[in-house]
């Protein structure tokens, strides 16, 4: 494909080649339309690249016969697709009501302190951590759940944070 590249960037390397392309092609028979494969395709992009760039959206558009604008519309609807690069560890803390009443705000503060992130959504200078608050992770009985990349850690308290962060460094 002809990827849109910017002057300072390295040329865009397509995601859907080789094995990935085969994986995508295997999805097509599961749905009556190609468009239905957009969420799985975007997941593949994010697994490989860590985030979904405009160039990647253009590639998804091309492989699914959609427009880049349509793909961007879908990407920006869903909160789990990162539209900017994030740290090596994306730390998502639930602070919705059930976790809030169990001390989730203290967990957020402790995580920011120990990861040296200056604020929510700002990646630490060493590139390791991005801490964000998220709405309900669906593990309310195990407050506070913290999702680090693909893993959900249950019952995190502010006191457990130093050990948790040290284990990742």
């Amino acid at each position: 494909m002809t990827a849109v590249t910017h002057e300072h960037d390295a040329p865009y390397q397509p995601v859907f080649v080789g094995e990935r392309r085969k994986e995508l092609d295997a999805l097509f028979p599961l749905y009556p339309t190609k468009m239905a494969c957009i969420l799985p395709a975007l997941w593949m992009v994010q697994e490989d690249r860590g985030w979904v760039s405009d160039d990647a959206m253009a590639e998804v558009a091309q492989v699914l016969e959609l427009t880049p604008a349509y793909v961007k519309g879908v990407v920006t609807f869903y909160t789990m697709y990162n539209t900017h690069p994030v740290g090596k560890y994306l730390v998502q803390v639930c602070t919705t009501t059930p976790c809030n009443i169990c001390g989730a705000e203290d967990v957020v503060r402790a995580l920011l302190d120990h990861t040296n992130c200056s604020d929510l959504g700002v990646t630490s200078a060493d590139g390791l951590f991005t801490v964000i608050e998220v709405e309900c992770l669906g593990a309310c009985g195990f407050a506070t759940p913290v999702m680090i990349n693909e893993e959900v850690i249950e019952s995190v308290t502010a006191a457990r944070v130093p050990e948790l962060v040290a284990g990742l460094k």
Binding site: W43, T96, P98, G138, A139
Partner: protein, 437 residues
């Protein structure tokens, strides 16, 4: 078994029987425990016979609305020449609810079996299981289970050797509470933004990919194999209060309580015994203040209301709330209700898909005003404004997210008004009209 705590003697473990039992996760382990007996039996019945059994059992939707499952299935007209679809709603994201998560983590094959029976009953060859993106572990378990079921010939073009085709596709969501709304979920499966659709047309007429579709919750489908194996009469017999509410139901319990977790009780169980006995009561030295019994979208109950409640669809309504999804959020005397209702409003403002003006603007303004009151900057007029906004947000939008935001605010002010007033220190601003000479 039970997870994270062993089952209490007061529980009725049907769906939760193998929670915490690692051996029940695999196909071999599940079959040893009677798994897929229900599907085997169902495939020897006609779809209409299955629908009749489910109707007779009294099973109602466990996702929140409580619609009778058998009746929902009967809306799918056989022989219309169109492909039918089953969508399993595993987008569990109602704050306070985490029961479907445990079903998928511990007994993924129970859901595969339920989906297969449901699909066959409504004449569908394909079932989509829509699992929220945050459920990484349940996703892995479900994908493994579906793969095992295909390899064993349980799914596929010759399901259990009967010549019937049943395919199950796992579809991973990407972070959107609203995709738990059935029409938003169908849009999301189709590869669109998860905006809810106007009904009618109802899904049974024009659902996913514009074909007849049934959407069922995880817990609903997981209950079906038990009904097929043990019969409608057995299920109907699980009833302690209203005859309109039958069967066992999982309740997720969280917040300020001694033993948070999932508990499965027969519908009609005493909510007082549930909170103080099964869940261990308040934390040491604390007392309960309020309960949201069915996920954050249902009205807040005072303890007086909660303690008088029979835990079924009718019982919660009689005591000023709803059963909803069964997500019980408990608040104790250390919590400020204004702060927590403001946080709930923020949740809805974040999750509004922003299609409807009443919801997009209403959730945002409700949050701003609630947070202003929380921070000591509110006026008495703000309470009236909140009621007025709530009124304009209720019953006026495509889906009920807007209504859901108004619910905790209205019930919170009505039931805990003194906490709001304690935070309002500013005098009410009365504009002075200029005198006309």
């Amino acid at each position: 078994m039970g997870y994270p705590f062993p089952s209490h003697a007061g529980e009725t473990p049907v769906l939760s029987k193998y929670f915490g039992d690692k051996d029940a996760i695999s196909l071999a382990g599940f079959r040893k425990r009677g798994g897929y007996d229900g599907l085997q039996k169902a495939l020897s019945m006609t779809p209409a016979e299955i629908v009749d059994v489910v109707k007779a059992s009294g099973l109602r939707g466990r996702g929140g609305a409580g619609f009778p499952t058998g009746i929902k299935w009967s809306f799918m007209k056989p022989g219309d020449g169109k492909p039918h679809y089953l969508c399993c709603n595993a987008d569990e994201s109602e704050p306070g609810t985490f029961k479907d998560r445990e079903i998928m983590r511990w007994t993924p094959h129970a859901l595969v079996e339920g989906c297969a029976i449901g699909a066959y009953a409504i004449g569908a060859e394909t079932a989509y299981i829509y699992i929220r993106g945050e459920f990484t572990e349940p996703l892995v378990r479900m994908r493994d289970a579906v793969r095992e079921a295909y390899d064993a010939g349980i799914l596929g073009k010759n399901a259990m050797g009967t010549g019937k085709r049943i395919d199950i596709v796992i579809h991973k969501g990407a972070g959107a509470y609203i995709c738990g709304e059935e029409t938003a979920m169908m849009n999301s499966i189709e590869g669109r933004r998860g905006n809810p659709r106007i009904k009618p047309p109802f899904p049974a007429v024009s659902g996913v990919f514009a074909q007849p579709t049934t959407i069922n919750n995880v817990e609903t489908l997981a209950a079906v194999p038990h009904i097929i194996v043990r019969g409608a009469e057995w299920y109907k017999g699980l009833c302690l209060s209203s005859p309109k509410s039958t069967g066992s139901k999982l309740f997720s319990v969280c917040g300020n309580i001694a033993k948070p977790g999932n508990y499965e009780v027969t519908l009609g169980f005493s909510f007082k015994d549930f909170l103080y006995d099964l869940c261990g009561g308040p934390l040491p030295g604390r007392t309960f203040k309020a309960v949201i019994p069915g996920g954050i979208s249902v009205p807040i109950q005072t303890m007086e209301e909660a303690e008088a409640t029979k835990m079924d669809y009718e019982g919660f309504v009689e005591q000023g709330s709803m059963l909803g999804s069964g997500g019980v959020i408990v608040f104790d005397d250390q919590q400020n209700m204004v702060k927590q209702i403001a946080r709930a409003a923020r949740f809805f403002a974040h999750e509004s898909c922003a299609q409807c003006t009443q919801c997009r603007e209403g959730t945002a303004w409700t949050t701003k005003i609630m947070e202003r009151i929380r921070d000591g900057e509110g006026t008495h007029e703000d309470l009236d404004t909140l009621f007025s906004i709530a009124d304009n947000m209720t019953g006026k939008t495509i889906c009920v997210l807007s209504d859901s935001c108004a619910v905790p605010v209205v019930s919170g002010i009505n039931k805990f008004r003194s906490e709001f007033e304690a935070l309002i220190k500013k005098p009410t601003f009365h504009p002075v009209t200029a005198a006309v000479a």
